[in-house]
């Protein structure tokens, strides 16, 4: 049984109110939501693919392309903003040559913006994978990227 069927089997007699939990579990399993999985989810719940897509695109959590090997999440909450997170985002964008929501060609990095991680005391904050990096500056961010590039090579 492939991943998505495995997830759907956990929701065997679920109704349309389980759509969001299913989307969350499928994304966790596959990394993103492909057109095929959206269609399969719709079929499972007896709702149209367009309705599934409508719900999925409404919420920020859902992605429709794979993340980078080292997904970068940058907090753009208020506390981070007043401590300069926009300059860090700029630095990441120029260093990686991608926009938020995109993945680098080599598949190493992706940038996602999150409204607030809730770690305002450590602002400005970025996450690479599950690792939190506090009190960032543009130059620290660039150094960090290089560290991860080296890690990928070794």
């Amino acid at each position: 049984m492939d991943g998505i069927e495995n997830v759907l089997s956990r929701f065997s007699d679920a109704g349309p109110d389980s759509l969001i939990p299913i989307l969350q579990d499928v994304q966790e399993d596959q990394g993103f939501l492909s057109p095929d999985s959206l269609a399969q989810i719709g079929e499972h719940l007896g709702i149209s693919t367009s309705a599934v897509y409508g719900v999925a695109t409404f919420y920020n959590q859902f992605r429709f392309h794979p993340l980078g090997k080292y997904p970068i999440t940058i907090c753009r909450g208020t506390a981070c903003h007043v401590k300069g997170s926009s300059t860090i985002l700029e630095a990441l964008k120029t260093e990686l040559e991608i926009e938020p929501g995109q993945t680098t060609e080599d598949g190493l990095f992706s940038i996602e913006i999150v409204a607030c991680i809730g770690a305002c005391g450590l602002a400005p904050v970025i996450l690479i994978g599950d690792e939190t990096y506090a009190a960032m500056t543009p130059s620290k961010a660039r150094k960090l990227i290089n560290k991860y590039r080296k890690r990928a090579k070794s």
Partner: protein, 636 residues
Amino acid sequence: MSDISTINLFDSDVSAEEANRRMALLKRESLDKPVLLVGAGTCGLGAGANATIRAAKEYLETNKIDADIVRVGCIGLCVIEPLLDVQLPGKSRLSLKQVTEDKVASLLEPVLAGKLPEEQDHIFGQFRPTGDQSAWEGAPYLDELPFFKTQTRFVLANCGVIDPTSIEEYIAHGGYQAAAKALAMSREDLCEEVEKSGLRGRGGGGFPAGVKWKLANKTQSDQKYLVCNADEGDPGAYMDRAVIEGDPHRLLEGMIIASHAIGADKAYIYIRAEYPLAIERLVIAIDECKKRNLLGDNILGSDFSLKIVIKKGAGAFVCGEETALLHSIEGKRGEPRPRPPFPAQSGAFGKPTIINNVETLANLPSIIERGAGWFASVGTETSKGTKVFALSGKIRLTGLVEVAMGTSLRQIIFDIGGGIPNDRKIKGVQIGGPSGGCVPEEKLDIEIDYESLKTVGAMMGSGGMVVMDEDNCMVDVAKFFMDFIQRESCGKCVPCRIGTKRMLQILEKICAGEYKAADLDMVMGKLEKQAKVTGVASLCALGQTAPNPVLSTLRWFKHEYIEHIGEGKCRSKVCRSLLTFEIDPETCTGCGLCKKKCPSDAITGEKKKAHTINAGLCIHCGFCLDTCAFDAVKAF
């Protein structure tokens, strides 16, 4: 009403003496071995608490010391984490700050031997001794520290103190007694008691909780729901997360009380998926409750049953709005709908539903236990009890504080928060997130309550409090919030969808210096009109409050708008398009880094000689300013 069984922590065959001994252990009044307690909320983990715990384990193993390590929530002072508390048998609990992994061994060695460490910088303070404990000589009491002294901690009382994964500890600290008391009361009496207490919604609106409950109680239906709104989407607010991570049982107890009051046998917790640790703690807490018959069928032998389901939000700010949240629970797009009917009459799946915020629910156990009169004695005429605020931004002690309503903003920022770092001057404070407003320095003496904040153009909101200093540009702040709001506008109603976008475009043009001095009146007029129309004509609270950051900055910081448009100047040096960059030949080392980074080749200069910027080629990106390691790039 059937008899409510009392909550017994221990089996009936445990002797009274043994029960007392175990109780003292659970309350940590009397220990049989040392305990290390590490602040391991999201903030603590971000500061490296996991590495601290690993190092502490290693130290204990190497030195063959038998001691427990307990992960606790956040005590509220995020800036001094990782926090490591040590409690030795017969001694009060000592709290050490900024204990990164490399400091663990050198701090634990003296402390485990009963001596204060020589590194004074790491001593945070001690708890008051209880039971058979003696105090540490030379360590301040936590409740005497300025940070805690002016606080009144009801909701946060257990946060950072008890083990959030242990229901026994919560019960030992008096937990679930209020739930048992509430179950013995009639629904009407319960609603009446909460109305009398004056508790108002802590999520932002400030609607009296008891009044809302009565409405749901009156509606006849075969099924009713309680929804706990833990979709803490306000950037700059994290109190709900901290309460759930640090004291999840307080929320669950509040939910039992509220569900009983409205007659709901099913409750949802709608929580942000971005809070994995809080979700984990809730799952454990719900499980523990089920084992002890505090959730499930016939709770504590009463005829009341309750099932709690966790629903993970999927990241949509608008879902903080009641009707949008309900659509999301139903698996639909989180778009709001017109009210009436109010959710209390027709909510989730068309059934009467009460939606309460985390902090509102977490207040209930104390209200029921100590009575409405006690709660109503704290606070101001119209706003009772306390409020938790998340202090962040340009402030020394970032963290969570809980104060009695009526405390002034100045007290919170300067007495508790320690004021502004780096000798900078405070400019204002943003309260209530994107729906709130900026309060200027001259209004900091107002006493906080729901009404007083409205008079200065702000609102209580959920309790985010972001402090700004003179390096923050208020036009930029308004732009920041508008950028957020227009992205989060669900698009259902035109005034919000188009209005927020238009306001953002105007603010972007102001910050980019695209207006001329002659445009001043036209721009200001347009912006204000757009703000008012959006506020009046939008469908839900998101759009109705969306103009607040613009209106409040226009009201208190109009001069900054005038400077931007009229003089092409940004006094805080934030709006880079309005700045001129120059390199100071005295400080420049000629390292060439700025030249390398400049995207428009505007910087020239030979290696090891002072560089210059060609103003004609400069695109004002500011990369040179960010890159220079010698502060040689100046902005005017």
